[in-house]
């Protein structure tokens, strides 16, 4: 077998695949954050907890109701999305007239509550979730072994990300959404129910997080803390990409996942902090973010 820079290709491509998978989660989560921020002007700190809820709802559907992975992939985002709609209507909607920072504090508090409740109920040891039988096993691609499920995660998140991009950039609903992001008052004057649009947007952003959670469930164990550290990395991803562009969020998410994977091959000690270092560099060179517009 050939070697690249002294690294066996199995290790290199294995880590790149792992990076791509992490990138899938970064992309899905930062996309949701960006959509929510665009319309609601709040940073949804609960996002990590909602990603965790997605995984837990999938686990509960399987273990309490016997509903399989494929149905959970649709049902869990819907269920978590509905809880998001309730949260937006009851709590977040009361803060729109205040400084944006209050939204951050409120959703941080909600994240603490949700994570605490799950930790009380299920402990922190983590619950296993089986890979669906259709996706067990793997393929030998010649240069590496690709577990089917991991390939599926990358493809599924890419499809969902691109579909989201398509809906927002190319459809009438997306046009309303973009218009309301620019000028909600004017869009309201044209007869569009902006508050309902805002609620649905929050629900959709949350559903994206839950979808990522279901995808993650068979890879990582289902754990109340699974979203807590991830969300901070996603914040850094969002700062690097800037929240101005949907496609930008997707590209940044996958790209940073790959960079993280490469770092794990060449300098393992740095893999946990590489994204934060990149954030520092981006802040120095292009403070608005790679795809962001200057405020």
């Amino acid at each position: 077998m050939f070697e690249l820079l002294g690294i066996p290709p199995q290790a290199l491509f294995g880590q790149l695949l792992l990076g791509l998978i992490n990138g899938s989660f970064y992309a899905l989560l930062s996309l949701g954050l960006a959509i929510i921020f665009g319309l609601l002007n709040i940073i949804n700190f609960t996002h990590g907890a909602q990603y965790m809820m997605g995984a837990f709802v999938a686990w509960m559907l399987l273990n309490y109701l016997g509903i399989n992975y494929w149905a959970a992939l649709v049902l869990a985002p819907v269920i978590v999305g509905i809880t998001g709609v309730i949260i937006e209507r009851l709590l977040i909607s009361r803060l729109y007239h205040l400084d944006h920072l209050y939204g951050l504090l409120l959703t941080f508090g909600l994240a603490l509550i949700i994570q605490g409740l799950f930790r009380n109920e299920y402990g922190i040891s983590g619950l296993p979730y089986q890979i669906p039988s259709q996706l067990s096993g793997g393929m030998n691609l010649g240069f590496m072994f690709l577990p089917n499920y991991r390939g599926w995660v990358v493809v599924a998140s890419l499809v969902v990300c691109l579909a989201t991009w398509f809906v927002i950039e190319k459809t009438r609903l997306g046009a309303y959404l973009r218009a309301a992001t620019e000028n909600p008052t004017l869009v309201g004057a044209f007869g569009i129910n902006v508050p309902r649009l805002i609620t649905l947007t929050y629900g959709f952003g949350v559903a994206l997080a839950a979808f990522a959670g279901v995808l993650a469930a068979p890879i990582y164990s289902v754990n109340p803390n699974m979203g807590a550290d991830l969300i901070i990395v996603v914040f850094a991803v969002v700062v690097i990409g800037g929240m101005g562009s949907i496609l930008g969020s997707i590209v940044t998410g996958f790209g940073l996942g790959l960079i993280e994977g490469l770092t794990r091959v060449f300098y393992p000690e740095g893999s946990a902090v590489v994204i934060f270092v990149i954030m520092a560099i981006v802040l120095l060179v292009k403070p608005a973010g790679l795809f962001g517009r200057a405020a």
């Binding site: 209050y102 409120l106 509550i113 901070i232 403070p287």
Partner: protein, 331 residues
């Protein structure tokens, strides 16, 4: 919003006319400081000294944080980085190098100041919500660094840090003698913060908080003021962290984790951001709650979350903010 502004001016108005003494402090502030000092002196004879020292360290931490949020208008969600790194450095200096406590604290505080200068210079390039995310991300970087760095002891942290002899003379081993050092540090720290808030520098800071473009048009370099207050806040947070390391003789990952950053936000929010004495009350309430509810495990987190939600929705002025409005005096 209009109603909020009006109450703020109503509250602020008496401050200008209130009788001041030689220190330039309104009389009721002087009384409160005297009361706090008296409480601090009597405290260890009534309550468990270690508990009180914990309250004082966190009160200083929260006041340092409030200097940045309440007066600079900058929400840092990563203040654990300065608190925790100072805690690690002073613990390591006292244990591995055998430095005297005052030098260990000084070294820890300096570390926090340098870290604050670097992160602050980067973070002030973004504003509002991004600022919060950037500071949080940098703090998480410090956390990951602390997990891996050889000198932090990983999951174990740095344990059984010697309290040593102050200036090589006074044995700080007994809780009572350390207590008065912590009281002195906290009290001087609070006075310093008070002085900063009420200095011309503090006035400009408040002007930038309220209307940045206008302050810039008046000729103030807003970014320099923001960086200065960021470094001051990080330094004082470091002072609190370094002191805490000696009190508990422990520096651990808890000190640098994001939950610590969240706790200091909670203390400030609950006590009243932008008030002089609010964070002290907030710190006392939160620390007491952690102590008395420690046996309930995850419920502490849930209750903290509920307090966050309730404070943001219904109680944004905080305990001391509301009290100040009732008394028609800024506290």
């Amino acid at each position: 919003m209009a109603a909020d502004t009006r109450t703020a001016t109503e509250v602020a108005a008496p401050a200008i006319t209130a009788p001041t003494n030689a220190m330039g402090m309104p009389r009721h502030h002087l009384l409160i400081f005297a009361g706090l000092l008296a409480l601090g002196l009597v405290g260890p004879f009534v309550l468990y000294p270690v508990f009180l020292m914990k309250v004082m360290c966190f009160a200083l931490f929260a006041c340092a944080f409030n200097l940045l949020l309440g007066y600079g208008g900058l929400l840092s969600f990563g203040h654990a980085a300065y608190f925790g790194s100072a805690s690690y450095v002073s613990a390591y200096a006292a244990k591995a190098w055998g430095l005297t406590p005052e030098l260990a604290i000084l070294l820890g505080t300096t570390t926090a100041a340098v870290l604050g200068l670097v992160f602050g210079a980067l973070a002030i390039r973004r504003q509002g919500i991004y600022f919060a995310m950037v500071t949080l991300a940098f703090a998480q970087m410090v956390f990951f660094f602390s997990v891996q760095a050889p000198f932090t002891g990983g999951e174990d942290g740095i344990q059984s840090v010697p309290r040593g002899h102050l200036f090589g003379l006074i044995d700080l081993g007994p809780d009572r003698s350390l207590y008065f050092l912590v009281l002195a540090i906290t009290f001087l720290g609070l006075l310093l913060i008070y002085r900063i808030i009420h200095s011309p520098f503090g006035q400009v800071l408040k002007a930038i908080r309220d209307n940045e473009p206008r302050s810039i048009s008046l000729g103030y370099r807003a970014n320099q003021y923001k960086l200065a207050v960021f470094v001051l806040s990080a330094t004082l947070a470091g002072l609190a962290g370094a002191t805490k390391a000696l009190v508990f003789q422990l520096a651990s990952l808890t000190d640098v984790y994001w939950t610590m950053s969240g706790e200091v936000v909670l203390m400030t929010l609950l006590g009243g951001m932008g008030t002089v004495f609010g964070p002290i009350v907030g710190a006392a309430v939160v620390v007491a709650m952690q102590n008395y509810l420690a046996t309930f495990g995850a419920w502490v987190t849930i209750i903290q979350g509920v307090i966050f939600v309730v404070s943001v929705l219904l109680f944004r002025e905080g305990i001391i903010g509301v009290l100040g409005r009732w008394l028609k005096k800024p506290l």
